[in-house]
Each structure stands twice: as C-alpha cells, then as structure tokens.
C-alpha cells in the first residue's frame, strides 16, 4: 500500500504536465493554421447537384476555392463562385456570376416552356448568379440578385473529378 503511494509520489508529474501542455499548444496551433488557410486563403469543397451541369458533375467534384479574390472584390462575370444561399444560411451553393452591379441581365423566365425573357439591372453591391443548367437550377431568377457579401469564394480548379472518386470508391 505504502509502496503504491511512494511510486505515485515518484512519477514526474511536472514533466508530464509540461509535455501535455506543449502538445496541446501544438495541436491548437495546427488547428488555427488550418482554419486560417481554409477561411482566408484557399480551401477544398465538394460540390454536387444538377444546377451546374455540364461544368460541375452531378455526383460530386472536389474543387479548389479561392478565398482571397472574393474578399478583395475581384470576382467578375463568368466566374463560378461559392456563396451562402439566400434561402437558407446554413447551405452553400455554387453558381456562375452573370452580372455585376450596374449590369443589365437578360434571362429566360421559363426556359422549357416559353421564349419570354426579362431584363433586370443589378443593384449596387449585388450580383446576379445563375446555374449553368438553366432548366434545373434555383438561382437569381427565383431569389433575385444577391448581395456580394454572400460570396465566400471563387471556384477556380477541379481537383478530383467524379470519375476518380468513383474508381476509388470501388477499391
């Protein structure tokens, strides 16, 4: 009994606590480093769905998202961007920017059924986004121009196309 307590008193608690502390600090630094890079420099995202066919695959593509351009306002017409959905702030969607503030955008109101189109001028501080697949996309034609502040990044590169995803999932 007293042998157990002597061993307990003999273990180097201070050193163990010191090492645990520095390990925890290292883990915290890595976590913070990953967060800063993901949120402010560049990050990866998995996008899936029909609205950006044929540019982005239905079953999922891993893409690289540039966060720096969006922050400095260097997003322009033709870019594919990742933005917070105006209908549900917990959802991110990928769409293409078709008009910046001040541009006049013409779009088909009902692409499968009629030829009628509307023209709208994008207000200050907003952008007009549309999915490439106009037959199956919920975008600015339904929810109107979105404020630029909802854009979180510009998709500039496809990292893993779906075909490779599929092959890996078979292995």
């Amino acid at each position: 009994m007293s042998g157990f307590f002597r061993r307990l008193a003999g273990t180097p608690w201070r050193e163990i606590a010191g090492e645990a502390g520095s390990l925890a600090f290292l883990v915290a630094q890595v976590f913070c480093g990953v967060h800063v890079v993901n949120a402010h420099v560049c990050s990866f995202a998995l996008v899936k769905g029909v609205s950006m066919l044929p540019a982005l695959n239905l079953a999922g593509d891993v893409v690289a998202v540039d966060r720096v351009s969006a922050r400095f306002g260097r997003v322009g017409t033709g870019d594919v961007v990742l933005l917070i959905s105006p209908e549900n702030p917990r959802k991110m969607v990928a769409k293409r920017v078709l008009g910046m503030e001040g541009d006049a955008v013409t779009y088909l109101v009902d692409p499968g059924n009629s030829e009628s189109s509307k023209t709208v001028v994008v207000p200050e501080g907003h952008v007009w986004v549309q999915g490439d697949n106009i037959y199956a996309s919920i975008d600015s034609r339904q929810f109107g121009p979105v404020p630029y502040g909802l854009i979180t990044g510009k998709i500039f590169c496809r990292v893993i196309p779906f075909f490779i995803n599929f092959v890996y999932s078979l292995v």
């Binding site: 915290a28 630094q29 976590f31 913070c32 480093g33 967060h35 800063v36 949120a39 402010h40 306002g73 933005l83 917070i84 959905s85 105006p86 209908e87 549900n88 702030p89 917990r90 207000p123 200050e124 501080g125 907003h126 979105v146 404020p147 630029y148 502040g149 909802l150 854009i151």
Partner: protein
C-alpha cells in the same frame, strides 16, 4: 538553431502562432469592433467610437433572437459592417409604417432596424429584408469607454411584428 538569428527566429514564430490563434478566435468565437455612424443612437447608449464585443458562435446555427443587436455586412457594400437591431426573423409579419404596408419576411432573411427613423438610419426600411448569410455576429457587451462598459440588452419595439 545556433547563431545570432535564433532569437529573431523564435520571436517570429511566436508572432506567427499568436496571429494564427488571434485570427481563429476572432473568426469563430468573439471579436471587437469599433462602432461608427449615428444609426444606433441614442436608445441604448452606443455612441460612435465605442468598442463592442461581438460574439460569433451564433453563426454556427444562426440562432438569433428578435431584439438582438447584430453586426452584418452591408448589402450595398460588402466591406462595411453595420450594427443594428434585428427586429424580425424568417416567417414573421412586420408592419412598415413608412410604406404603410405589412410584409412577410421571406425564408432565410431577417429585418434589421436602426434606432432612428428611416431618414437617418439606413436599414431594412430602405433596402428591405436582408439574407441571414450576411450576419457577422451579435453584440453582447460594450467594452470601451469604461463609463459605458456593460451588457447590451435585447429589446423589441412594441407592436411592429407578428410572429409565425
């Protein structure tokens, strides 16, 4: 590492870790902003030049309450942050006296107002409801100047909204 560059290198590393931790805390947990502009005077005593503590944990689930003082990116200029009071959540009906109408807040949007009337405060009475995705955080305390340090309370204007 030996030689005269060792203390410089270790100071640089500490600065880098401090910056990383600082940015992460400011992005995810809480940060401090400086209030500028008149739109929140004078009802709850926030004046231009005050520093307010903004908590950002609420962005995880977007659980805001009616009457919170919130910070959001201006829908006209994404680089500006605006501090105003959140009056109504998605699905609520709000009475807009200036336009003499009653509107329902669409899904995913909210209604924000400054304390002054619409000619001074530039808020939802001028630009309509804003997407919740523009939210930056919720103001919980004033931290500077010392005579105004304290909690910022939730407050609702009477009889303007009807909840879903």
């Amino acid at each position: 590492m030996a030689g005269p560059s060792a203390p410089v290198w270790s100071t640089l590393r500490s600065c880098l870790s401090g910056a990383l931790i600082g940015f992460t805390v400011a992005d995810r947990y809480a940060s401090i902003i400086t209030v500028r502009g008149p739109s929140m005077l004078p009802t709850f005593g926030i004046e231009p030049g005050d520093r307010a503590l903004v908590e950002r944990l609420c962005l995880d689930r977007y659980d805001f309450s009616r009457g919170d003082v919130v910070v959001f990116r201006s829908p006209k200029d994404h680089e500006n942050l605006v501090v105003q009071r959140l009056i109504a959540l998605p699905g609520d009906w709000i009475q807009v006296p200036e336009l003499q109408e009653i509107r329902q807040i669409p899904q995913g949007h909210c209604w924000v107002e400054g304390e002054h009337d619409a000619s001074i405060s530039w808020d939802s009475r001028s630009f309509g409801s804003i997407p919740l995705g523009l939210m930056y955080g919720r103001v919980t305390h004033i931290v500077w100047p010392p005579n105004r340090i304290g909690r910022v309370e939730r407050k609702m204007p009477e009889g303007r909204t009807m909840q879903q």
